[in-house]
Structures are given as C-alpha cells and as structure tokens.
Symmetry: C2
Subunit: 339 residues, 2 copies
DNA sequence: TTGAAAGCGCTAACAC
DNA sequence: GTGTTAGCGCTTTCAA
C-alpha cells in the first residue's frame, strides 16, 4: 500500500539516508545519485510520510484553523485566505468548525495541537481565561480578537463604523440604530465603540439594539425593533442581518432608502447581490486569513514563541443605493403608520 | 514543551504501556491505576500525539476533504456537514481548497494521503483518468460525481430538475431556459439530462444556454441571453446565478414572476433571503457531507477498500413566489419591448 | 558523498 | 494487571 522510503532505497540501491537527503537537502548528494533516487521515487509514486517526518523534526508542515462556523460567508472567506496562503508556503490546513460553541473551540485546539505547527483562531468566542489556558499548547494567532498578549490580525471595524456613521450623518441622519450581534464578538464591540466615539462629533444619536443572532432571521427580528424606535438609518451587525432587515422592511412596506437607510458589514460581494444594492463596510476577511498564516509562520521562523505582534487591516465603506438623505417629514411617525 | 507519554508514566509511577492502555483500552487496567494515570495526565495537560499513534496503528483519525471552493455556499455547507460528522466520530478534518483547479485537486490528495484515513472529494472537476490515478493512494469517496467505481454520495438533482420542470409546466410554461454552469460539473449534467427526459411529457421546449460561471455575474450575463430567446421561465445552475438573473431582470424592468419565472438550486436558505423569495431545488449539501464521512469510515471498518457503494440523496423543490403562470400575452414580445 | 544506527512518541506483542 | 521491547517511517548525528 503505502510506499516507504526503504523501498525507494532498495530500488535505487542506496541507503535510506541518501534517499532522505535527496529530498530534504538535495545538494548534499551526488547529482547522478540524486537523479536516480528521484526517478525511482517517481516511478514508485513515493511521497514522504509527513507525519513521520514531523515526529523527528518537530515540524509538521500543518497549520490548524478554527472558525466559529464555516457556513458563515465571513468565515468561509477567511478560511479561503488561510488555505490559499498555506498552500503557497507548502502547508496543509487542519480545519475545525467550533459550531459557535466556546467549549468546542478549546477542545479542538487540544486535539490538533500535536499535529500542527500552530493554530489560527478566527474570532474565538471563548473566555479570556480559557484562551490563556491554551497558550503554550501550541503557537497561536488570533484573528479579530486581542487577548492574552497573543499575536493577532485585527480588522479595523471600529473605523469602519465611524466611516458609516459619518456617511449617514453627512446625509442628514440624526438618529441611527446599531444592531448588535453575538455578545462575545470582539469585532462587534469594536464597532460599538467606534460608533459611540464618533457619534457626538457628528451630532448623531445612536440607538443600541440587540444582541441578535447574526443571521437573516436576526435581521428580521431587529428590523421591527429599530422601526419602533423611529430611527432613519440602521447599522446591521453583518450582511446577513442587513438582508434580513431589508426583507422585513420591504414586507412592512417601508421603502429603502427613501424611508430608512441601511448599512451592513460584509466580506466580498454578498451585499452587491441584494436587489437593492446594499451599502456596506468591507471587511478584508480573505486577506485576514492570509495575514494570519503569515504571522504564524513568521513567528515560528523567527525563533521561539512569536512576540505579540498585531497586524491591523483597514476596512472600507462601500456606498451603494441603500443610503440616502432622510425624509424631511422625519421617519418615525410615517414609518409606524406604514403598515 | 510537548508533554509525552513518558512523563505521565514517570509521574504516575507506572510504565508507558500502562499509560497507553489507560487511554486506549481502559478496562484492561486496574481501576485505581487508571484513575491515577488519568489524573496525572490531566495535571500535566497530556494529550496523546495522534501522529505518532497513527504511525504505529496505521489509523490516523484524520479525514481529508477537498472542495473546489470553500467560499461557495454550496461547498461550505458540505464542509460543515463533513466537519460536524467527523467530530462526532472523533476524527479531525484536513481541508484543501482546490481553487476550482483540477490539477490542484490531484496534487492535494497526494499531499494528504499519508496523514489521513481517507479523502472525501467534493464535486471533483478533474478528468476521469486523473481520478483513476488517485485510486489506491488512499481510500476515496466522491460527492456528486460517479466515476471509477468509487463509492459516492450522489444528490438526485436530475430529479430536482424534473420537479422544477413539471412545476413550471403545470403553471403553463411552455418555453423554459436552462442556464448551465461549469462544463465539468456532474450535477449540472444530471440536471440537464433530467430536464431533457422530462420535457417531452410535459410538452415543454427547453432552451439550453451556457456554460456560464456559477456566480452572480454569470447570472447577470445569462439573463440577457435568456430574455432574447423569449422564454417565460428560467432554471439557473445555482442560487448565485439565480440571484444574478433576478437582479438583471429587475434592472431591465422585467417583473418576476409576472413576466418571467425563475428557479434556482440552493443548499440552505440563501434563496429565502432574496427580496423576491426564490423558488429553488433544495440540495442537501450538509447531509451529503455527513453521508460522505460515514461512507468513508464504514468502508474502512468493513475491511479493505470499500465496495463501490452509492448513496443517493433526494432533492426537493421549494416553491416560492418567483414562479407564476406565464402571461397570456406571452412573455417574449412584451419582455423585449420592456426596455 | 554515503551508510549505519539512534530515536521522535506511541502501540502491540510477549513476558512476567 | 503490568512491564519490556520492538518497531511504525522518517531525519540526523557520527563514522567511514
């Protein structure tokens, strides 16, 4: 079944160490010998057993990636970045889907620890103490979370929130709802802070709603609450929620953006796919995945445990037709009568 | 750094084999001893090195999953099923994203082969001959492809196409466009066949368009072609394309479903998120992922190479408001005048 | 430039 | 019920 290094050695009539060298340190072996070895290996379809190699070198060539939910477009985009970059640097990805469960997150890191050179934790939901317990089991890099002095790739969604707020304020909106996602979301917290910080200068009043599930349904649910609070604009936690909001507004006969403006956060083009093009804060998820892999590997090369290095990635507001100046006759009353 | 079995043995004052047994065959060791061992292991934070274990047992406890594109909702849903099921049976998932490149598919299987117990190939795009070359390197299970006598999980999208066609025919549609996706897609081929087979009995004429990229843009592009052919209904390759179609129709002032009916294929609720709820053929992607993992593992348990076992999963038409009877004044002319 | 041998962390006979 | 020992496939001293 599995063709081993011994068979290649026998076939090429050399010792196993020569075969090994032909692969790992090619110029330490005679050109002719090497050619022969490589050829025999090719014929036999030999592929070094990376697990065995890892056992002795201590380097597996694998990296672990843990996401809260692969089916969430944000995280599948991030995963895409991780796998793509990993491939470029000849590494393989171990994937774990934590199913939005903090305990699973901790558990899987333990399970992977020994078979990987390090783990990328994407938006981990777990408690700081749990996170700290993981430190030392294997090199860790965080994405969109800043904790325990760990190296991290951080997206500046606080700044994105500011951009969105200023955009809406410039249009004349004075009362804006913020729909929160999962409480454990670092990015969500950043957005809220960015919003609060920017609101006074923009002369905007923010209405903080939630938490809601970061889903289509969460958006539907949130839309009614936002409507009842008489806002003229809504900032949704992510594109899924934003689409839910859009749908609920449509169902209630509220026009977007005539009656209410909507802004979401997305990764790629999810939101360009809505029938009413959705204004969004662009989160560079794929780039984040790539950066995380780099950070992890750089840290490993550099020496021991990587220094706590933070890589900030900018976010960008993409304005589309879901935002417009508020009506002069002010949203609230009209909207509530709308149905 | 990494705590080994030896340290646990020393700490518990037993031999390594006792520690090993305490983990792998608990009832072959004295209850008191076991308790002590487990406790010491706990304290030291010992986790067996699965790679080393695999080296001797020949079983890694890992399974490989190869997808054409993680960022595609179809495949992230399938991946979700794989990881969920894998976890339930205490396995870890090795993920590879082939970036829609057949060569990469073959390559990654080779790279993973030695570290996994088997590989799930999701909708592989590679040639039959390439696929055959992979057989033997590691146990393989196919999803949505039937080739080389390999075990496979197959979704009956041919039947889904039939259901969609009959639905549209029942509404009175007589001229229906089929928008093809990637030529290498087995599922696409199935749908086309299902359509062709069902069309005569339904007294329907099918207009076969494509191939198009299975994306939003592909749908935009396809919509114009379909319109020009004067159909009253459109069957899109997947939900992304369907949404593209919807958008382009809206942009051209064509009403859905008044002027044209649209049907897509989707996995979960993507299509319930469109502003005009989209009628779709439901593909059980997540269930497919789970089934594939089961098939792989069952085959391994059963004995040698798994028999070529096929698992067919049904598809289901979900009717929503994007389909309606065609206008009496017949779509074609009206629509073309529409803009 | 090459080979022989030790050993990575673990399990699986085979003794005791 | 427990310990000793021989490897799993590979890399890496150390000698030749």
């Amino acid at each position: 079944m599995a063709v081993t290094i011994h068979e290649v050695a026998k076939g090429a009539d050399v010792s196993v160490s020569t075969v090994s060298r032909a692969f790992t340190m090619p110029d330490m072996v005679n050109a002719a010998t090497r050619r022969k070895v490589l050829q025999v290996a090719e014929e036999l379809g030999y592929q070094p057993n990376r697990a065995a190699r890892g056992l002795v070198t201590g380097k597996t060539g694998n990296i672990g990636v843990v996401v809260p939910d692969v089916a969430n477009p944000f995280f599948s985009a991030m995963l895409k970045g991780c796998t793509a970059r990993a491939r470029e640097v000849r590494h393989v990805v171990f994937l774990a889907d934590a199913a939005e469960d903090p305990r699973v997150e901790a558990e899987v890191v333990g399970a992977m620890a020994k078979q990987v050179d390090g783990v990328v934790l994407c938006s981990p939901r777990m408690q700081p103490t749990q996170l700290e317990r993981l430190v030392g089991s294997t090199p860790l890099v965080l994405v969109n979370r800043d904790e325990a002095g760990l190296p991290a790739v951080l997206m500046d969604s606080g700044d994105g929130a500011r951009q969105a707020l200023e955009h809406l304020a410039a249009l004349g909106h004075r009362r804006i709802a913020h729909l929160a996602g999962p409480p454990a979301s670092w990015a969500g917290e950043q957005r809220l802070q960015g919003l609060r910080a920017a609101a006074p200068a923009c002369d905007v009043e923010t209405v903080e709603l939630g938490p809601f599930p970061p889903t289509f349904q969460g958006g539907v649910q949130a839309a009614d609450l936002a409507l009842a609070r008489g806002v003229t604009a809504i900032l949704a936690f992510n594109d899924l929620m934003a689409v839910g909001v859009l749908n609920r507004l449509a169902a209630r006969g509220v026009a977007v953006p005539a009656d209410i403006s909507v802004v979401g956060y997305d990764d790629i083009e999810m939101s360009s796919m809505t029938t009413v093009p959705l204004t969004t804060v662009r989160m560079p998820m794929e780039a984040g995945g790539r950066a995380a892999v780099d950070l992890l590997l750089d840290g490993l090369d550099a020496g021991i445990e990587p220094e706590a290095t933070h890589r900030w990635l900018p976010t960008q507001l993409i304005v589309r037709s879901t935002t417009a100046p508020p009506r002069q006759d002010s949203g609230s009353a009209r909207v509530l009568a709308g149905r």
